[in-house]
């Protein structure tokens, strides 16, 4: 078995992630492929919604990202998405801008981190 403790990422809890998929590395690869395919588009849409001040769209997209990131054991990213969703629901555009900026920083490099995780967790 690979050593999930030697995670290459501070954001992704690989042990928790492996528990979540019942140590099914094939599934882990599948989920990360979905993430790599969908995340950039979602982030782009979120950025557009924030810039346009479309707070309902911001709330919806950040809610989806919160669920995705929590499923992938990215606690800090999920918490940051939750803060953004909360800000959007409060209707405070200034808070939304700040929360998005924080979220953007938190998830920067996340795909690379997952690539590193995949390298650690070869399919069984």
């Amino acid at each position: 078995m690979d050593s999930p403790q030697s995670s290459a990422s501070a954001s992704v809890n690989l042990q928790e992630l492996l528990n979540r998929v019942d140590n099914d590395r094939q599934l882990l690869h599948e989920l990360l492929s979905i993430f790599k395919e969908e995340f950039p588009g979602n982030l782009r849409n979120l950025r557009v919604a924030v810039a346009a001040g479309n707070l309902s769209e911001v709330a919806k997209l950040s809610h989806t990202l919160k669920g995705t990131l929590s499923n992938l054991a990215v606690a800090a990213g999920a918490a940051s998405a939750a803060a953004l969703e909360h800000a959007a629901r409060s209707g405070d555009s200034t808070r939304v801008q700040a929360a998005f900026s924080d979220f953007d920083k938190t998830v920067a490099g996340l795909i690379s981190e997952f690539e590193a995780c995949l390298a650690e967790a070869h399919p069984s």
């Binding site: 979540r20 099914d24 599948e30 989920l31 809610h63 669920g67 995705t68 499923n71």
Partner: protein, 322 residues
Amino acid sequence: MKILIADDDALSRRLLEKTLLRDGYEVISVADGRQAVNCLSDSDAPRLALLDWMMPELDGPGVCREIRQRHDQLYAYIILLTSRESKEDVVAGLESGADDYLVKPFNVDELKARLRCGQRILHLEDRLVEAREEMRFKATHDHLTALWNRGVIMDLLTRELARSQRENGSTALLLGDIDHFKSVNDTHGHLVGDQVLREVARRMLLAVRSYDFVGRYGGEEFLIVLNNCDPVSAFPRADQIRASIGDRPIQTDAGPLKISMSFGVLISHDWGHRPADELLREVDTAMYAAKSAGRNCSKLARPSDDTRDFVPAERSSREPSS
């Protein structure tokens, strides 16, 4: 067991699918709330459902509300699985009709345990429905022959008479009585008598159309209601039914017995659509006229005093033995 997953997030969907497939479920996945409602409305719908809250077309609570408004289907056990975790959300989700509420990310063991709770509830519901259906059957059917019981056949007759009056159609009433049934019981015992009653009931059911009604009217008396029956062909049809009872012996524990029936026949159209109880009196009189005429025949009840004989040419070969 079949389970529905409704989640617009492909990653969540796949994670759930794989988790549940591994646990032996047959999984159906959809990506929006409208598809979830459609799937849960199918005749062969899953009885368990895991719904995300926020979905395109219709959200999870919306799906719950639509499904709970329907009462024509078996109960579906619905779990809302969402990252909305405030107490207000939990309350709103359950109030919408969800049976349970789980917050993402889910713990696999907790999810499985909660689904087993759902299965226990569904099993309990199945047993209750089964018991209700059994009680309903017992309340509406004769326990020996499984035909409609007297109360129900009377209700069905009343309903059909009203319908034929409304549509200016005609309903035929056939009141049949097993000939010399008392001597079957006296000679061979009541268990053999019961076998005769069951077989007579079975033969009558085979002889009528699927939408006609057959009921046990009394001890060895049966009432048949031929719906939407052409007045010209009603009497010959009635007599075919009578003939089908006696065309071969009935196998019993006492050996084969030749059994016949006498029938009174009434066509509602001939009587100007009178009430059921009046028509029953008339058809009863016709049935006794058939008995007086030597049994194993049918008599038509007519508004004028005369009754038309209908004795089959081959009757002598089918006289009852008892």
